[in-house]
């Protein structure tokens, strides 16, 4: 459903991604691993339209995504939880989670349905709800970002280093949450970037390794074996 065809990306004329070429199938969870600076974040940002693609193309459900303006991409069913959370600090946690629904003009019942699912996946968000998003701690913020991404992700979920900075309990819970998500909504494909592959053991069936802006390996279930 998401296909990278020899994608080249440059930032300020410096090539960052070189010929990225891989495909994510429906219902698949892919781990994008690699060292710091390998280009994981940049890969996800390219899907969202925040980079300049200088060569190749990205297809989403067979269509060149370049034809869709960045702000229309979430409506295709893509949810994105950035590495650095990027919460809207002047809104409460709950408003942060609900904002995408308001933007997409989802009707009340659909919003409630999705919200219920989010709470099912992330029960701790319920308590954080009324807190200003600017005041939650680093790890709590990661949860909120996931919740916000889930509000839109009906087909594809992009998670950038979701476990970074999470206490083990929470990381475990987060992993469980992802597990629950796969059970509740198996139709959603997930790409997770991670510099610590051990955490992905439980649910990523495929690992794509990025090295210096290029795909170094693409193995199915290699982590489970490791």
């Amino acid at each position: 459903m998401l296909t990278f065809e020899r994608v080249d990306v440059s930032i300020q004329r410096i090539p960052i991604l070189r010929g990225i070429d891989f495909a994510v199938r429906e219902r698949e969870t892919v781990a994008l691993v690699g060292r710091n600076g390998a280009g994981k974040t940049t890969t996800l940002r390219s899907v969202m339209g925040f980079t300049d693609i200088v060569g190749g193309r990205i297809l989403f459900q067979g269509e060149d995504i370049a034809r869709v303006a960045p702000h229309d991409r979430p409506a295709l069913g893509i949810g994105y939880a950035p590495e650095d959370r990027r919460l809207f600090s002047r809104f409460t946690v709950e408003e942060n989670v609900l904002l995408p629904a308001r933007v997409a003009k989802l009707d009340a019942s659909e919003t409630q349905r999705r919200l219920a699912r989010i709470y099912e996946v992330l029960p701790e968000l319920r308590d954080l709800g009324p807190r200003p998003a600017g005041s939650v701690s680093g790890g709590q913020g990661k949860m909120v970002a996931l919740g916000r991404a889930l509000m839109l992700a009906t087909r594809l979920l992009l998670l950038d280093e979701p476990f970074q900075g999470l206490a083990p309990v929470l990381a475990n819970r987060y992993a469980e949450a992802l597990g629950r998500l796969r059970d509740l909504a198996p139709e959603i494909a997930v790409i997770i970037t991670e510099s610590n592959p051990a955490l992905l053991r439980r649910f990523a069936e495929r690992t794509v390794t990025v090295e210096r802006g290029a795909i170094a390996s693409d193995e199915t279930a290699s982590i489970a074996a490791a």
Partner: protein, 301 residues
Amino acid sequence: MTLNLAFIALLDGLSYASLIFLVAVGLTLIFGVLGVLNVAHGSLYALGAYTAATFGGQLVAAGWSPWLTYPALVAAALCVGLVVGGLMERLLLRRIYDKDPVLQLLVTFAVFMMLENVQRMIWGVQPYYMASPLQLLGNVSVFGINYTAYQTIVLPVLALAALLGLRFFLRRTDAGAQIMAVTEDREAATAIGIDATRVYFVTFVVGAILAALGGALATPTTSVVPGMGANMIVLSFAVAASAGLGQIEGAALSALIIGMARSFAVYLAPEFEVLMPYLIMVVILLFRPYGLFGTVQARKI
């Protein structure tokens, strides 16, 4: 100074404050959302005034009912805000949002200079004036002092309406929520489906309309002259900075303080009248370094 006089000074301050609030709130809005300190805001004010004077003048000259000058004022503000503000955003600002904010300032300054010139080419240098809205409503008398109903009632009511309207718009509507989100983080907003480009456009145009509306509403009481924009812009800066950035309510309060200070100065210390906005700005900022309603958003560390 007797109580009566104090009350009278209060009324005077109110009408003045209403006018500068209308202009300054547009500036604050644009600054809060786009991060652009729009020097050309003064030109939009002036253009609003000229256009309103022209529209109104034509209406009256053509023998229409003078009551129609009221809609003409609003129409003028909409025209200027949409056309000039819209073009400015589309053709210029849009290209430089990702650039250093000082550059944006410079661009708006250049636009300011050009518009001053354009304004002179269209309307010449003679002062314009359009008194119908003022004369229609006549005067009201308070403690034996005559006031124009326009200044003591219409202007404050409109300013209040603008304040409440903007508050409602930003806090309660979806569009307002989108604006607030874009204000904080453009990219994250895009990632949840907000069309930041449109939000910027709409915000700028709304700000421009407010500036033009300020100018249009000034035409019944003031002469429309070359250079009027330059005077207004510093005043708006003072209001916006003392208010705290992007603070709508703050802008209302600081406009009120500056308006009151000015009118009380006329009674108590006329020497300081001109200095008042600056003195107030110094005092407010010394005690509240981020303005009246401004808060330090601590950097996450």
